[in-house]
């Protein structure tokens, strides 16, 4: 059985062509416009709130949860599931992430210290990349209408979330909340690679710097906990 499983390649799990995938992105833009404007307003609001005080961070997470819920329903369940039988499961995962964000927002996490400069820089870079996604995502594609946007498509939405969560959390909370966004980025990266779409390299780069920032954030968190215990 193991020999049988190893004979599968990535392509065996991607039941559609690049043409169909890109056309799906395009149709999302056609169907959802001008919702993009509202989603970008929500995105800006999230980023500004994430840079604010504890109370404002809760609003950032609630905004993110709305984005995840919409992407789960509109992009994954209603569109992507037409061509990918696994998309129903992805939609469930995105819905779960939305609930997780609401739960953490309601719990009102303890006032966390600002992330170290390295983590903050990476977080803002990732968030900026997510917001700039419509500009570079159509590069190499046949139409600008195939661009992807936060709140409409899954990739930039997951990337934005990674950036914002790096600003808001450290320790186990950060790893818990970023698990699904990271897994999605990996799945999407592999899908794009199989389809021959170069954008997989952008996701790969984001994952690398994101991981680096998360590890740094975790070390700072551990140092803080150790220092707190020692001071007692």
């Amino acid at each position: 059985m193991i020999a049988s499983l190893t004979s599968y390649s990535l392509q065996d799990f991607i039941p559609f062509t690049a043409e169909v995938y890109l056309r799906m992105l395009e149709r999302m833009n056609e169907n959802d416009w001008p919702l993009h404007v509202l989603m970008y307003a929500l995105t800006l609001f999230s980023v500004i709130q994430a840079l604010g005080t504890h109370r404002h961070r809760t609003f950032a997470m609630l905004s993110l949860s709305l984005i995840w819920l919409w992407v789960a329903v509109s992009f994954l369940y209603q569109s992507y599931a037409q061509i990918n039988w696994a998309a129903t499961w992805f939609a469930a995962a995105f819905g779960f992430e939305a609930l997780l964000l609401v739960w953490m927002a309601i719990r009102s996490p303890e006032a966390a210290s600002s992330p170290p400069r390295f983590v903050r820089t990476i977080a803002l870079l990732i968030a900026a990349l997510a917001m700039a996604w419509p500009v570079f995502s159509p590069v190499g594609r046949s139409s600008w209408a195939q661009c992807e946007s936060v709140g409409i498509h899954a990739d930039p939405s997951a990337v934005l979330t990674l950036g914002i969560l790096l600003l808001l959390f450290s320790g186990w909370r950060l790893w818990l909340l970023t698990l699904i966004p990271i897994l999605w980025c990996i799945v999407s990266m592999l899908t794009l690679k199989v389809l021959g779409l170069d954008q997989f390299m952008v996701l790969m780069g984001i994952l690398v710097i994101g991981f680096a920032a998360m590890i740094r954030a975790s070390r700072v968190s551990q140092d803080c906990i150790r220092n707190t215990r020692e001071s007692r």
Binding site: S7, D12, P15, F16, T17, E19, V20, M24, Q82
Partner: protein, 310 residues
């Protein structure tokens, strides 16, 4: 991969149309060469040696433009003598898109509809067959196959019942990529089957060792999937090489598609190959292999050596 006619194709088409009164009809349209067929051992029914697969190519979701494009590909398939279409629940919206295309074209009376059961729930055979039939919007499938041997014992039992009651005509099993050939051989040797589907192409000929002879001995029809190795083989050949002159002279191979497909269907045990495509032009090339000369054993060896040398 667009199925829209290019400007060159459009000009060519218009020129051909204007010149038509002065030309003899091309074989594909004027049927000067007969469609090559092979018998299904279980019944003697003849099937054209080139069918159509739908993995990835027909999974286009609800997009109207892409559905229309696939309808045109299917129309070309029928016009050129195709009958056998293969699909699976694993292929996303392919069955639904097929059903839409068949409704637009009207279902040909000689359609040979081949579907698959793909569920680990051995009790859901009939349910899935019904679901797929509703997607295709046809009365009955000709062939139901157990996809990648998933829960094959239960499904085989249920499919036999369905065959006895006339709900399907043939039953079969499938694998691909050379997987589970040992299991395939055991099942072929011990169970009554009408069809087996496996990967056989010029770069993957493992089935020649045991499975194809066994199929011939047991009277099992063989459908060859992945004739172009998932597309990689033919793309590389088209990009980097020309079809050798001797292939054109000795077995009418004008394109790499024809070269690769004729190699496959010239194997006596193969009933049908099922290439998949999204393009009309590629469908035309594929269907050229349904007519004309086939390579003999010596030429087949030369073809295989040629590909190995590239």
């Amino acid at each position: 991969m667009s199925t829209q006619l290019t400007r060159r194709q459009t000009i060519r088409l218009l020129s051909g149309t204007l010149a038509l009164p002065f030309l003899t009809p091309p074989p594909a349209l004027g049927n000067a060469s007969p469609v090559r067929v092979r018998p299904v051992p279980a019944s003697g029914e003849s099937l054209p040696v080139i069918g159509m697969g739908t993995w990835r190519t027909f999974n286009v979701g609800s997009d109207p433009g892409l559905r229309q494009a696939r309808t045109q590909v299917l129309a070309t398939f029928f016009e050129r003598g195709g009958r056998v279409i293969d699909c699976s629940p694993m292929y996303g919206s392919s069955a639904d898109v097929l059903g839409d295309a068949l409704n637009r074209l009207s279902v040909p009376s000689d359609l040979f509809a081949a579907e698959k059961v793909w569920t680990g729930d051995g009790s859901a055979t009939a349910e899935q067959v019904t679901e797929q039939r509703q997607e295709w919007d046809i009365e009955r499938f000709d062939l139901m196959q157990i996809h990648n041997l998933l829960s094959w014992r239960e499904h085989l039992r249920n499919l036999r019942d369905m065959k006895e009651s006339g709900k399907i005509r043939y039953i079969g099993i499938t694998t691909s990529h050379g997987r589970r050939h040992g299991d395939l051989e055991q099942i072929m040797a011990s169970e009554p089957l009408d069809f087996v589907q496996l990967t056989y192409n010029i770069t993957h000929r493992e089935a020649e060792q045991r499975l194809l002879p066994l199929a011939q001995d047991k009277g099992i029809a063989v459908i060859a999937n992945r004739p172009f190795d998932g597309g990689y083989l033919i793309k590389r050949l088209k990009r980097d090489y020309q079809v050798p002159d001797w292939a054109a002279q000795e077995c009418d191979c004008q394109s790499w598609a024809e070269f690769l497909l004729k190699f496959i269907v010239s194997q006596p045990s193969i009933t049908c190959a099922i290439p998949a495509t999204t393009r009309i032009s590629h469908m035309q090339e594929n269907m050229d292999a349904i007519r004309g000369e086939l390579p003999d054993a010596q030429l087949r060896r030369r073809m295989a050596r040629h590909i190995e040398s590239l």
